[in-house]
């Protein structure tokens, strides 16, 4: 799993393996020694992968049978078999494996596998899609802004956004008068290319289409957050209302959504900053995608470019 991430994100992911042979497992130490013995000959990861891949085969073996199985793997991997056999039982590797158990106990590793992501213990799901999503989110940090956007819009002017997608254009009238900070941020991000070539990561028929996260995970934001701008005369009372997605009243960032229908339950919780004036039919063509419904997810329709006109 982690090895696959290292292959798929060769510039961005590093995988570090530390042994913790569990005391109650009869073949843990020998397996550790075998990986280390292969490592002496430059094939740690190959043996690592072989041992894990063959787990179902060797779990029920006796220690002698397992040792023979390990030697077969060494042969398959093209190792110097005599050297492997010697190293496998060497005092140095026996001590190294034993010490790894002691180290794990000392720092109270709760079980295996135990993963840290950028030095932080991680106890969430370890499936590929979730871990890849985390990688993408952390990568997004490079694009985050270190300052809030300067106020550059004139709330008295009319602003229109054209969202060019791979299935057509959606035109949104922006409410600069009702939500000036939100519209200012949106236009700032448009000018920075933030919304270029990103997916509609959450598209739920009859509810909303959501985008604005370059990581495509639903976790991403621009590095700043701003509070809601709720007004008395804006409601989720029809299809095409555009709102800012948030994680609470002061957490608006870059993600936005467009309502497919009236959703009065959202009133007062999400800033309304626009209304679709053309292209609702286009939104209906977006690939349905619900990240909370489990994996695998379809690729997702894309925003190609957003442009702003000002009057």
């Amino acid at each position: 799993m982690l090895g696959q991430l290292a292959k798929d994100f060769p510039q961005d992911v590093r995988v570090v393996y530390r042994h913790f042979p569990l005391p109650g497992h009869d073949k843990s130490l020998l397996a550790t020694q075998a990986a280390e013995a292969a490592g002496i000959q430059g094939k740690f990861w190959e043996m690592h992968d072989a041992i894990f891949a063959g787990q179902a085969t060797w779990t029920g073996m006796t220690l002698d049978q397992f040792e023979a199985w390990l030697k077969d793997q060494a042969k398959t991997l093209g190792l110097d078999q005599a050297k492997f056999a010697t190293d496998l039982k060497s005092e140095a590797l026996v001590q190294k494996a034993t010490q790894a158990t002691e180290n794990g106990k000392k720092i109270q590793i709760p079980g295996t596998p135990f993963i840290l992501i950028n030095s932080r213990p991680y106890e969430g799901p370890r499936d590929y899609d979730n871990l890849a999503a985390i990688v993408k989110s952390i990568k997004l940090e490079d694009r985050m802004f270190k300052i809030c956007p300067p106020m550059t819009i004139d709330p008295k002017k009319q602003y229109t956004a054209t969202i060019k997608t791979n299935v057509g254009d959606v035109v949104v009238q922006l409410f600069a008068d009702k939500a000036p900070m939100t519209v200012n941020s949106f236009i700032f991000l448009v000018k920075q290319g933030w919304y270029d070539n990103i997916i509609w990561h959450r598209v739920i028929a009859g509810f909303v289409a959501q985008s604005g996260d370059p990581s495509g995970t639903g976790f991403g934001g621009p590095g700043y957050a701003y509070s809601n701008e709720i007004t008395t005369d804006a409601h989720f009372d029809k299809a095409g209302v555009v709102g800012m997605a948030n994680a609470g009243p002061n957490s608006n960032g870059s993600q936005f959504f467009i309502a497919f229908a009236p959703i009065p339950d959202l009133d007062g919780q999400y800033t309304i900053f626009g209304q679709v004036i053309a292209g609702m039919d286009v939104l209906g063509k977006l690939t349905p995608r619900d990240p909370s419904a489990g994996n695998p997810l379809p690729e997702g329709s894309k925003i190609i470019l957003v442009t702003i006109t000002e009057k």
Partner: protein, 101 residues
């Protein structure tokens, strides 16, 4: 979507402000930081033509990842003692303690 929040909350731990997702199903999207990083606050009051029901909007810079200090329990990766795949300057490091059995 709560599952997704859980993932991220677990990953970033107490360093980030957790959010439960709330009753509304709009995605909790922004990992708003409550980090050690000093926040730069940029308050901008703007005249509105409609009546606001919330306080004047404010904007705060947030940081996804707080600065790390050396950890005595989980020392930094060391090519002399650890098996490592991937570049040293990688943005993301997965450190795994594992048992083959």
């Amino acid at each position: 979507m709560k599952k997704i929040w859980l993932i991220f909350g677990l990953m970033l731990g107490a360093a980030l402000a957790a959010c439960g997702g709330g009753a509304a199903a709009i995605a909790p999207v922004v990992p708003l930081a409550a980090t050690s990083t000093a926040a730069a606050v940029n308050t901008q009051n703007v005249e509105k033509t409609s009546l606001p029901t919330s306080e004047p909007a404010t904007c705060t810079v947030s940081s996804l990842q707080p600065t790390r200090t050396p950890d005595p329990y989980f020392p930094a990766p060391d090519p002399k003692t650890d098996w490592i795949q991937g570049p040293q300057g990688a943005k993301v490091t997965f450190l795994e303690y594992s048992d083959f059995q």
